[in-house]
Symmetry: C2
Subunit: 340 residues, 2 copies
């Protein structure tokens, strides 16, 4: 296709030097290998003139480095992840690395297939992942030993790993505390299954601890699990049941999917939370929350920082090919957005 690509050899022939020399100069190792300044200049000039760009596959095959990092997220259409993706990419670009983003669709098999394709066969130099997996078992396999992996958003408690996450516990604690201070005593928390994911267990813990701190007994019936595959229906069932009882004074959704589902159900039911004196809160902020009714009290995660830190941690791991012993655990603070 198109015109023939310029090869190292083409430049070498033009200048009557070896392709070894051309390779050295182009990789900035001219001085290190004692190539004379004059020759270096000639090579660079000719390479520019002939529009040389190295064949990435040949280079990667020989060096074992692709300068590619993959980001696996559960769902790229979720603004939380797509925002992180944007910042990871931006940060990596400044360091000469490219990012490939893939979406696993909350599907463990697909996640493992992609890891196998990209990481195990070293198509990428490093992996940043919001894992859907239930355990760290898969990541223990020999092939992934010493492969640079950074977990984001969620980490797996059963393995030692490098991760960058928001302080889910703190965010949930503060949000719950705020609701309590606003007078709520019956906060219905809507969690999402599978709820084993670290970010969720910590949000639950923060919720419970905040209640305890303020001498409010936690009631089992106030922590309900919504099935990921049936969010809308589950939320409808729960809300119609609980709101009619009329004891609930706040609804706290543990992720943004459930929040939008609630808004949908409020709409359907013609439920006016403000009039009924029910506060509405959610973990994960969405910019449009500024305009929805009822107003949403939310926990905003530092998506930009998560992206930047994850990118740099990945690069750090790639550079220090050494020991696996020490891992970095980065926990970033969240902030409460209290509307109205």
């Amino acid at each position: 296709m198109g015109i023939k690509k310029t090869l190292l050899e083409d430049i070498a022939k033009e200048l009557n030097v070896s392709k070894t020399l051309v390779s050295m100069v182009i990789n900035g190792k001219g001085d290190a290998y004692g190539i004379s300044k004059k020759t270096q200049e000639k090579v660079l000039a000719k390479a520019g003139e002939m529009e040389y760009t190295p064949n990435v596959f040949a280079r990667a095959l020989r060096t074992g480095k692709s300068h590619l990092i993959a980001l696996l997220v559960a769902d790229i259409s979720n603004p939380f992840y797509s925002n992180i993706a944007k910042h990871v990419e931006k940060e990596l670009a400044t360091k000469g690395y490219n990012l490939m983003i893939c979406s696993t669709d909350e599907n463990v098999e697909r996640e493992e297939k992609l890891i196998s394709l990209f990481a195990e066969q070293h198509m990428i130099d490093g992996l940043i992942i919001a894992t859907t997996n239930t355990s760290g078992e898969y990541f223990k396999k020999e092939r992934l030993r010493n492969f640079p992996i950074v977990f984001i958003d969620r980490y797996l408690p059963d393995i030692e790993s490098n991760y960058v996450v928001a302080n889910n516990y703190q965010g949930s604690y503060e949000l719950t505390e705020l609701l309590v201070k606003k007078g709520c005593k019956n906060i219905l928390a809507l969690n999402i299954t599978p709820s084993h994911i670290s970010s969720l267990t910590e949000r639950v813990k923060g919720y419970k601890d905040a209640l305890k701190k303020h001498d409010i007994a936690f009631k089992d019936e106030n922590l309900v699990e919504i099935s990921f595959d049936n969010i809308q229906n589950d939320v409808r069932t729960q809300l119609t049941k609980r709101l009619k009882q009329g004891k609930i004074d706040a609804i706290y959704t543990l992720n943004n999917h459930i929040a939008t589902a609630c808004l949908n159900v409020f709409n359907e039911m013609g439920f006016d939370a403000k009039k009924e004196g029910v506060l509405f809160a959610s973990f994960d902020d969405i910019s449009l929350f500024d305009f929805v009714k009822p107003s949403v009290i939310s926990v905003s995660q530092p998506v930009e920082n998560i992206g930047i830190e994850a990118a740099n941690l990945a690069l750090h791991l790639i550079d220090s090919k050494t020991n696996t012993t020490d891992v970095k655990k980065i926990v970033l603070p969240t902030s409460i957005i209290s509307r109205n």
Copy 2:
């Protein structure tokens, strides 16, 4: 790193056959090359047992195919693009191709750099792109001749190209007509610069034609350009000016960024569109529009279909390495979402 990867040669040695044979069998060409069934079974069994996965770089170097397709979008954090991305990826996965998504941040230089890196040196087999470029000049270069490129969302009128876009003209026409039928005679259209992008020029055309059809004279002052780099301020300036004059009976934002900016300004100003009798409409739907105040009349684009069609068109171009002569132009219908 980790244990040594299994190579073709390792399998060949174990079975006392040539690596040529192993390669043929693993690539499903055993029958074509007349390898006996028994041998094929042995090879596949051993390959499974030794957990063989081919080195993608060696394969790509030799074959010139990477089974990778890149999707370049202006902004991955924009739900319009991230939704398309999700569907492109899903569709490609079923065909054995992987997708790398990159965000150009509406930056022409970055876009061209990425194309050069990925496409010109054939790191990818095909490219799907929502271009930020102002002209097709860049895409005419010899190196990109015959390279499979599919434009989405926006196409470049000055070059012949394969593209998949929504029917921006129709959507805008219908939306404007709906506003007119609801009694609006002074519809303020807020466009975004750079407005040369095909999707925008067609939306403008649809707006103007619908007015003409209903015998409403188009007024220059009712088509305002908002600068991409200063959306919030520009919108504020325009809205405060025009709303105080009190002649406007509808606001129509030509993309979702401007829509959210408007919502912000309404908020700041304490402007109640419903009370003031001003309708609010936008091109590009966002699911949360269901809950915002004022209610939004919007044009919804078929993101799923755009993704699927783009993926298949790219694959088609990759397969038919032949002539460039005939291009495919796919224009998909939009739908109006009229709330309240």
